[in-house]
């Protein structure tokens, strides 16, 4: 177990802090107090030899963290580490954290079985969490499942109960937030002891917990169990510290590891890999600030490192050649722009000159601060930018410190483990020697996630911190399809995997063979396969995906990442770039669908009790014409460069469609007056996602050129089931015959009016839904690019008459399960 050494000027403070740490850690964590000097007359001070002995007292292979209060305590802590023998010193680190908060955060994390890097990070950030942003409105995180609880134990979530909660929550890989509703506090990370303590949850307070949908039920069950056990208060037996003499639980049962020894994460790229795990360091290294006598020369050295890094990026882009698309290159263009950011450069230079400290220490500090700022933002897309900042930061550091050039180079074929994958890591991946990639954190929407999804090797993200504890070189089995890593695969598992791999590889080879072919059933019925898109960065992936068109460009990204609404020219540039990148394939642009659940600061919207039924989608656009007109003008101007369609979200009435078209005509008129080119015959469509629109589809159809069904919202409204509420998830199912009947009615109305109809919801890419939707006559299927090859392969095994029979059948069934069963029979599953 990782040990803690407390170095303080005061012996009493060190002892007292050790006492709190012992109580809070939940598990017996080795803590040594090394405070004061051996002089009864003036006992305040620090004794380097005492610190040295304390380190040896708590030392194990897991490492030791040394914390100090101020001045000489810090120097003596470092002195003591230097006095260790080289082989002892390897895993002993000085942790530059506030003493009290740092030691307590570390004790809890160690008790929870977290790896050294996590413990250090939590300890360092302990002080940051002391000051939550004041008075900001609470945000519901999109995609999380929320449940409320009442805390009943007398102590509330303090000390031991808080530590117990953190320990339990650390057993889950996803993000978990806790908010004290009774005291109106902002949500905090439920895995952070400081966050929980600062929420000041006392007995009878209501709390809300938000968790990832995939594990929400398990998280909530664990919390219910803690509440039932009174958080270990009053003689409960749950999770008390092991009594003396009982050995601590073995290291192998790290909390995020399931009984079968597998870590679960998010699937980014499918496939199987078996091989030794190789850890790639992807965090910023610790750098000792060293004094410099000539700060001006040091600032010049910094400037040279920046230009060296830029040259390196340009060279590796040139070397990558066709391996990455022109659009992926934009990510690295953005990296180059960081290297030119005047504010960052000025800050670093001023600090070098002002503080007489070496460039690498200042640069590390500035980059880490910037990355933290990004990571602290709620918007997952913005959060993901932290990875880019660290990526660039590391590159420059290598130039300043003369470190190795390729962190991902391996001597034998390996599965690489990253804390977080950076875009430049993806660029450096050699698919011949790298068997697969897994990471502790990261999401699909990060630049690296988008780039990695195009790799031909399995990639699994966000398996949690437990990955750091897996030994270097250990054989692991990476299942990119299921998004899991098996840590100790036995012969049986490996054999089963080999069989699965064979099946999967055959299937993939067959899917790849049809990827770029027209999407046809076995009897020649052809439909259109399109891709869904939510940012410019995805262009490269979409270009190679086999999509004939983009069936849905979500434009929210343009509005959510700005301090003010982007202007017409700015939006036009983005749309034009995408049109050009699609080389003649049509682009369907959905006008902004921003609702009360996705706050955009400059929009100044009133709060809504029920955002999903509120002022969102086309309703908002029609209410704020100055906003709508700018977007319409920008989309229209892009239509001069290639085929573009305009699509309105959340239509409920004919009146809305007419009003939207009226605005479109007005904008066209203005563009003509400005002599700006656009496609006079631009196709206009609407989304079928409100039951009213499905019911009135025959009335709406003559007004537009196409429909596109949004199954997520349609299901939510037809079934009156919130997709973020775990309690009603069984109702939130597009296979419900009620939803299918709405879809059938819309398709019929579209074809009656002679227009085409597509689908851009999650259902469109589902192989199980494919025969039903083909039978119902859907014309266009717009899906996640990674689903396309498999979808086309499924299609090639279907015949139109069989699909039609199925469609007629399922509309008469009574439940979603019955529909799926019937479809699976046809698919031979």
């Amino acid at each position: 177990m990782i040990g803690i050494v407390i170095v303080s000027h005061s012996g009493k403070l060190a002892e007292g802090l050790k006492e709190i740490a012992d109580v809070m850690s939940g598990q017996p964590v080795p803590v040594a107090a090394a405070g004061g000097v051996d002089d009864p007359e003036s006992p305040l001070g620090t004794d380097g030899i005492r610190v040295l002995e304390a380190i040896r007292d708590v030392m194990s292979d897991d490492g030791v963290l040394v914390f100090a209060d101020i001045g000489s305590a810090r120097l003596n802590a470092e002195m003591a580490i230097d006095l260790l023998e080289p082989d002892e010193r390897e895993n002993v680190h000085f942790c530059d954290a506030p003493l009290v908060e740092g030691v307590l955060a570390a004790a809890v994390q160690i008790g929870a079985g977290s790896p050294l890097q996590t413990v250090m990070r939590e300890a360092r950030e302990a002080a940051l969490q002391k000051a939550p942003p004041p008075g900001e409105p609470q945000e519901t995180r999109t995609g999380g499942v929320v449940r409320e609880f009442t805390i009943r134990n007398p102590m509330g979530l303090h000390a031991r109960p808080a530590a117990l909660l953190v320990t339990t929550m650390n057993g889950f890989s996803g993000d978990i937030r806790l908010a004290n509703l009774s005291k109106g506090r902002n949500p905090v990370n439920a895995k952070s002891i400081n966050g929980i303590m600062l929420s000041e949850v006392t007995a009878n307070d209501r709390i809300s917990v938000t968790a990832d949908p995939a594990e929400a039920e398990a998280v909530f069950a664990a919390i219910e169990e803690l509440i039932r056990a009174n958080f270990g208060e009053e003689g409960s037996v749950a999770s008390r510290p092991a009594p003396a003499g009982v050995p601590p639980r073995p290291e192998t049962t790290s909390p995020a590891v399931s009984a079968s020894g597998a870590l679960a994460g998010i699937s980014i790229a499918p496939g199987f890999a078996l091989g030794p795990l190789h850890h790639v360091r992807s965090t910023l290294p610790e750098i000792e600030p060293v004094a410099v006598t000539d700060p001006v020369a040091e600032a010049e050295r910094f400037t040279r490192a920046l230009s060296g890094a830029e040259t390196e990026i340009r060279t590796s882009l040139a070397d990558a050649g066709q391996r990455i698309s022109a659009y992926d290159r934009k990510i690295f263009d953005a990296h180059i722009s960081y290297l030119h950011d005047p504010e960052i450069i000025e800050t670093v230079k001023q600090r070098i000159i002002g503080e007489h400290v070496c460039a690498e220490a200042v640069w590390r500090d500035v980059v880490a601060g910037l990355a933290r700022t990004y990571a602290a933002l709620e918007d997952p897309l913005l959060q993901a930018r932290a990875g880019d900042v660290i990526d660039v930061g590391q590159r420059v550091l290598r130039f300043l410190t003369g470190g190795e050039t390729s962190p991902a180079a391996v001597s034998e074929p390996s599965v690489l483990a990253f804390e977080d994958l950076r875009p430049s890591d993806v660029l450096a991946i050699d698919e011949k020697t790298i068997l697969g990639i897994c990471t502790m954190s990261g999401g699909k929407t990060s630049h690296a996630g988008i780039l990695a999804s195009a790799l031909s090797i399995p990639v699994v993200f966000a398996v949690g911190d437990a990955l750091a504890g897996v030994a270097e070189g250990r054989q692991v089995l990476l299942d990119g399809t299921a998004g899991t890593i098996v840590l100790a695969p036995d012969a049986e598992t490996i054999a089963a995997m080999e069989k699965d791999r064979k099946t999967w590889e055959d299937r993939r080879a067959r899917a790849e063979a049809v990827r770029t072919l027209p999407a046809r059933t076995s009897d020649g019925h052809e439909i259109r396969v399109a891709a869904n898109m939510a940012s410019v960065e995805e262009l490269g992936v979409i270009a190679g995906s086999g999509a004939q068109e983009v069936g849905l460009l979500r434009t929210e990204f343009l509005f959510m990442h700005h301090d003010s609404a982007p202007g017409e020219d700015e939006q036009y540039e983005v749309y034009r770039t995408i049109v050009a990148g699609l080389s003649g394939r049509p682009l369907t642009v959905r006008t902004a669908d921003i609702g009360g659940d996705k706050p955009v600061p400059y929009m100044d919207r009133p709060p809504e009790a029920n955002p999903n039924l509120g002022w969102r989608g086309l309703r908002y656009s029609l209410g704020v014409p100055e906003f709508f007109d700018v977007q319409l003008a920008a989309i229209l101007r892009a239509s001069a460069h290639g085929p573009v369609r305009i699509m309105f979200p959340l239509v409920s009435t004919l009146h809305e469609v007419k009003a939207a078209k009226e605005r479109l005509r007005a904008v066209m008129k203005k563009l003509r007056a400005r002599n700006l080119a656009f496609d006079e015959n631009v196709e206009v469509g609407l989304m079928i996602e409100v039951p009213a629109a499905a019911e009135m589809a025959d009335i709406l159809a003559p007004e537009v050129d196409f429909f596109s069904i949004g199954t997520n919202d349609l299901t939510q409204y037809v079934m009156a089931a919130d997709r973020a509420n775990a309690k009603v998830q069984d109702l939130f199912d597009p296979f419900n015959p009620a939803v299918l009947r709405m879809i059938a009615r819309s398709i019929e109305a579209a074809h009656e009016a002679g227009i085409w109809i597509g689908m851009c919801g999650a259902m469109a890419g589902s192989p199980v839904a494919a025969p039903i939707l083909i039978g119902l006559g859907l014309d266009e299927f717009s899906m996640t690019p990674s689903d396309i090859a498999e979808f086309k392969l499924t299609l090639s095994g279907l015949s139109l008459p069989a699909c039609r029979d199925l469609a007629v059948d399922v509309l008469k069934l009574s439940s979603a399960d019955a529909v799926r069963d019937r479809a699976n029979v046809l698919l031979g599953r």
Binding site: G45, T46, D47, G48, G71, L75, M79, V290
Partner: protein, 219 residues
């Protein structure tokens, strides 16, 4: 001219022992003075800390003439007993300086010059500091330079150490107009200007003790 065992160009084990003992005496005498210097810009404890540290040094000094072993012992006692930042700083200075001298009972001028260089590098690293930041380095660095220059002339050890002590004194006095950039004094910003640095002062006292001890032995 010098005799073969301990010539004018070398420092012997007994000289080093005399230096250490003299340092302890001088620091005890100057305990109040150092504390007074420390009170406007520090914790008012430098005199007390150095005195306590050197008392322990003398108490634990090993028998024999092994110069490296003696200096290493000085380092360990200071690290343990000084209590303030001077502990790890002087500790690192003697520890880093002592390493090449373990087992030696006589040290040449070149070796002593190397001792000063290693010691100063150790202090720079430990304190993340350099000359001009109002620290002990402002006395130590010029002393090291002066020693090297003087010794290069005709290899006269007492004269070289005398030059080193004189340079340390000048360096110590030069800290008065400086603004502190390290340690507690740096919190005072411009208000640290006008005060002589206590660390530079104790460094001067220790170097002066070295010069005096070697000069007396050479008589």
């Amino acid at each position: 001219m010098a005799d073969a065992r301990a010539g004018a160009g070398t420092v012997t084990g007994p000289m080093v022992r005399a230096w250490i003992e003299k340092s302890a005496e001088v620091l005890a005498e100057n305990r109040k003075y150092l504390t007074e210097l420390d009170s406007p810009i520090g914790d008012s404890d430098h005199g007390n800390n150095m005195d306590r540290g050197y008392k322990a040094v003398v108490e634990k000094l090993p028998e024999g003439d092994d110069i490296g072993a003696m200096l290493k012992s000085v380092a360990m006692s200071l690290i343990s007993k000084v209590g303030g930042a001077a502990g790890p700083l002087y500790g690192t200075m003697f520890l880093d300086g002592s390493k090449p001298l373990i087992g030696k009972t006589v040290v040449s001028g070149e070796e002593l010059a190397q001792f000063f260089a290693d010691a100063i590098n150790g202090v720079k690293k430990r304190g993340r500091s350099d000359v001009g930041m109002k620290t002990m380095l402002d006395a130590l660095a010029p002393a090291s330079d002066a020693f090297r220059a003087e010794f290069a002339k005709d290899g006269d050890m007492p004269a070289s150490l005398k030059a080193a002590a004189a340079a340390a004194k000048q360096g110590m006095e030069a800290t008065i107009p400086m603004q502190a950039q390290r340690g507690r004094a740096s919190y005072l910003g411009e208000r640290s200007i006008g005060h002589q640095d206590p660390g530079a002062t104790s460094s001067y006292l220790i170097l002066q003790a070295f010069s005096d001890a070697v000069e007396e032995a050479a008589k």
